[in-house]
Assembly symmetry: D3
Homo-oligomer: 237 residues x 6
Amino acid sequence: MKNVVVTDPPRADPAIAGALGEHGVSTVHEAQGRTGYLGPQFRPAWSGARVGGTAVTVLCWPGDNLMIHVAVEQCRDGDILVVATNSPSSDGLFGELFATSLRQRGVRGVVLGCGVRDVAELRDLGFPAWSTAVSAQGTVKATAGAINVPITLGGQVIRPGDVIVADDDGVVRVARREAEGVLAAAARRTHKEALSREAFAAGELGLDRYQLRDRLAALGIEYVSYQKYAQAEHDEP
Amino acid sequence: MKNVVVTDPPRADPAIAGALGEHGVSTVHEAQGRTGYLGPQFRPAWSGARVGGTAVTVLCWPGDNLMIHVAVEQCRDGDILVVATNSPSSDGLFGELFATSLRQRGVRGVVLGCGVRDVAELRDLGFPAWSTAVSAQGTVKATAGAINVPITLGGQVIRPGDVIVADDDGVVRVARREAEGVLAAAARRTHKEALSREAFAAGELGLDRYQLRDRLAALGIEYVSYQKYAQAEHDEP
Amino acid sequence: MKNVVVTDPPRADPAIAGALGEHGVSTVHEAQGRTGYLGPQFRPAWSGARVGGTAVTVLCWPGDNLMIHVAVEQCRDGDILVVATNSPSSDGLFGELFATSLRQRGVRGVVLGCGVRDVAELRDLGFPAWSTAVSAQGTVKATAGAINVPITLGGQVIRPGDVIVADDDGVVRVARREAEGVLAAAARRTHKEALSREAFAAGELGLDRYQLRDRLAALGIEYVSYQKYAQAEHDEP
Amino acid sequence: MKNVVVTDPPRADPAIAGALGEHGVSTVHEAQGRTGYLGPQFRPAWSGARVGGTAVTVLCWPGDNLMIHVAVEQCRDGDILVVATNSPSSDGLFGELFATSLRQRGVRGVVLGCGVRDVAELRDLGFPAWSTAVSAQGTVKATAGAINVPITLGGQVIRPGDVIVADDDGVVRVARREAEGVLAAAARRTHKEALSREAFAAGELGLDRYQLRDRLAALGIEYVSYQKYAQAEHDEP
Amino acid sequence: MKNVVVTDPPRADPAIAGALGEHGVSTVHEAQGRTGYLGPQFRPAWSGARVGGTAVTVLCWPGDNLMIHVAVEQCRDGDILVVATNSPSSDGLFGELFATSLRQRGVRGVVLGCGVRDVAELRDLGFPAWSTAVSAQGTVKATAGAINVPITLGGQVIRPGDVIVADDDGVVRVARREAEGVLAAAARRTHKEALSREAFAAGELGLDRYQLRDRLAALGIEYVSYQKYAQAEHDEP
Amino acid sequence: MKNVVVTDPPRADPAIAGALGEHGVSTVHEAQGRTGYLGPQFRPAWSGARVGGTAVTVLCWPGDNLMIHVAVEQCRDGDILVVATNSPSSDGLFGELFATSLRQRGVRGVVLGCGVRDVAELRDLGFPAWSTAVSAQGTVKATAGAINVPITLGGQVIRPGDVIVADDDGVVRVARREAEGVLAAAARRTHKEALSREAFAAGELGLDRYQLRDRLAALGIEYVSYQKYAQAEHDEP
């Protein structure tokens, strides 16, 4: 771990990041070819938020939030703070005072590969947070780390300036240079889903809409009545 | 895994399934002799729902929701879709579009031994879902599975037509042929609990109401004052 | 495990316990030198509660809630029931009927190192519960245990009469004899945090407020522009 | 849970069970269409054993091994004892004394959906055990259960008399009535694998042996040189 | 966490500690009334060791092994080093160089509520280690902790000078003042088990040896032939 | 996920990779500044192996090993196959037949972020494997993936041609271009550790060797006799 603070990395356009946020995690994940999702272990501290912003990345030592203090100064309007620890930790590296500081700078939320605390206060503030744990466990400020270097969270590489989208489904990353293209694909997908929603609400089946019936036969899937099946598969205790 | 779609299995009476749903998971679980509970890993995607319905069972390949498309067509009014994967997976096999389709058919909810997505949309729709994960991770439609065969989830065998009851405590299964008897037992238990609730609210103790005091003595449980205990058990650092 | 019910242990002052509750888990944890937190596995059954009270401790056999019935009689106004099992278990040892009984006695909440059930009913009652699982799994009343002996939960020793504080961040314990001192420290910390909150809302940075800039240099942390960094660290696929 | 001891269930032929054991878990799992595997959480207490036998099933209360004492009497030559608990538990329900008793009766091993203890002694005895935990935690003998009823472990239903095969890869179940057919299929598979092993050792590729090259094209998989790929996908920090 | 090094705590007699080690974890755990076991998450780095010694306790910050360096000086012949971290961590705080140092001082082993590394070297050295993880993740030496204060591991309080027994079944603690009494109880139990082993090897059943048959009837356990059971419980698919 | 097979990526020098393997995981991890470790969830299928080689990377769909067949052809002497799945899976994607094929090509081992099977056969073959699970669960060959693209495992980005070192402590990655420098640093560290080992074996303390005593004072760590401590910290039950 090189102890470096990289300043002023290029960011994706914050308006594009915000627009991706409105499409939501599942749609954006699909729109970029089912990539970029940080996995089910990232959960919102409180439910109902949906945001998109540009990543400021932080690499901390477990149980040590010194580098988050350093990171605050590097944040600006439209950013989302993204924090990894150097090894697994559930400690609460982030709470309400950081949120107050970040909100003052226009930051839209925080994603932590460790713990968050002050959950009630964050909900009251309306400051969104996603994390792999909720923990009051306090931290020290003793060990160096890095800001705005590539980090990995949930199997995804996050570079500074990448777009982060988060909602009740979790967190997805969009590479900075692909943000515009993914937004266009997300818009197409949202439109297509609206049509499908209408069709499904009217009773059309996915089997027909996605033309899956032929595939069933090709895969050797057979339809059999319960009576016939029950005779063949008679269970015993 | 046999690739079969079993059609029109007999279902428990949907009215009985609904009535069991009103009693709730813990009461139904107790009413059938503390059996049928799928365990603490099944959690609601959003809290506050309570349903009872008849199972349509689905067996999918992990990361593949083809068979859910097949299952929709087999669902009818009063059903609950119940999905297992052939091996452990947290991927989000089910989301809002499926919910739209199922709601149109009168389906009351979904239970998944894998991930669910579109949590915010499901909450807005009021379509209840229980699962072992929330995950935006998308899926393919490439591999065969089975519909309306017995599946196991959380150590419980679920057969098509069984009753599924789910609420904030999780999910319980009632065998189709036992549904009527369990409903009667649940009603008796609910009545008995109402009396107990009243007694406890008035200050009666469980020790007396359930006549447990004799058992304590038989088990060798002794009462001792703090002073006496503190003298005997003086700790040291 | 000695099968003993220790009666009338000295308790911390319930007014002090209540006042600690108002400061909340993270503040109290910090105020006593970052000690006493039970860890991220203890979660509220429903969110939004914040309580402080005095511990009545219970040691149960897994899957057996006999001793909770015994404990109810030992509880009084201002207490919080704290339950450990002798080995790991997720079973639902506590539900709505116990809550009714405890509320009648003035008990402020329950903390369980196992499962809780009747989550919807507890939320409706407004009776707060923290646990390591939600589970409808029912229990027997067959095996002895102990009341008001020291127990450990989440790596913390809890003695009868200790203060328990719990909110959406989890659960923290304050030793009985230290409660008054910790309350004073928590008040100082709350005051100090209020000043910091104001400063951060006005744009002051933690780096300056906590005088961390010198430490960064001492730790060898370097600031480098993105352009320079990008030239040095050119990635390759 | 009905408190019943079912006596003398029909068993699969112990010679067939033993022969299946020689084929091993992965081969038998494949031979019966990739079904019956109890999952990765079942691990051997000591490595190197490989057995096949007929199931005597036991359902215990967590933390209570009374029913294993009952089960011993129901075991006979060629059996494997298979133990589930009514809810999740890691306690050590089985140890060296039980192994001594079972070995005297010709039992070939034990599979536990909970903990095992006396690992060193079991290894010295050469008595094979698979379990979901190693735990010295002792148990009581207070609560009823059942013998030779269907149980589920790792998502598989195990009926008395079914074949259990276990080795360093875990545990697989073969339904009693299918044992003979699965043995034939396993023998065919073992033979086929021997031919493949020889071919692979001689340098043939799976792509050719299993004729997968056409599938790659159909799936849109492209081959590209590193130089071309590196130009297109230039990473940045 | 008070930053204190407590010097020269009284220890249990090392000969008694060694003798307890020979009885092994499961026997000692039973001999002291099924208490003191640290749980199934503590596993040996290599299998086959069995030790007993007196605890030197260490409390470290996660990811920081400074205090282990301090602890080495406090260790003497017959000790076992016991390390907890202030919050959950899997980092490898202990490896071969520490083992070399400790062995030179007559230390019998190490127990860590975090990670261990250099597993191959520890096995070659014959230095036993139990831990909750194996991890090469390196650590810093930046944050204070404590030596020879009470710590908790796996729900057990360990005080300096307590006896630690560890083998392939895990780790158990015996309170210093109870060590002599527990050794006597363990000897009685080992003797009793030898008799039981002989009886079981000769075919006696636990049901008879422990006089459990009456209990079965009292618990309502019924014996039923498979034929009768199969008729009553006819399964269906 | 782009469906691409990148051919002939540049590799680190296989001799350097092999030499790094001899230094082992913990030493290499430290030598590159405590980076690159894949974490404690990667465990050897059998213990005692230690290897270093160059990565051929594979990205598979969960439950689908088609791309491993494709990867075999891309492997050559000195390589280590490194497999990630697109979402969490424990299925056994790799077994003995693949090992036979890879060994024929001079491949030194395999690392899987999912399951491995045929553990006994791999041990007999002496083919080393590290994985996050052991599972017999079989797979299909239906879905596309990628070869020799960057993948992430355990929070580390692995590019084709990077060096992989693995032993009983787990797995560490060294970037291709840094391999030579890290080898030199590892050699220096191994030499330094040999001197330390000798010093520790002779009784020198780490406190002195690493000059830590001043730091203790600076951190406010106090030494206190047990008698004094016991008076101050008198516990109570």
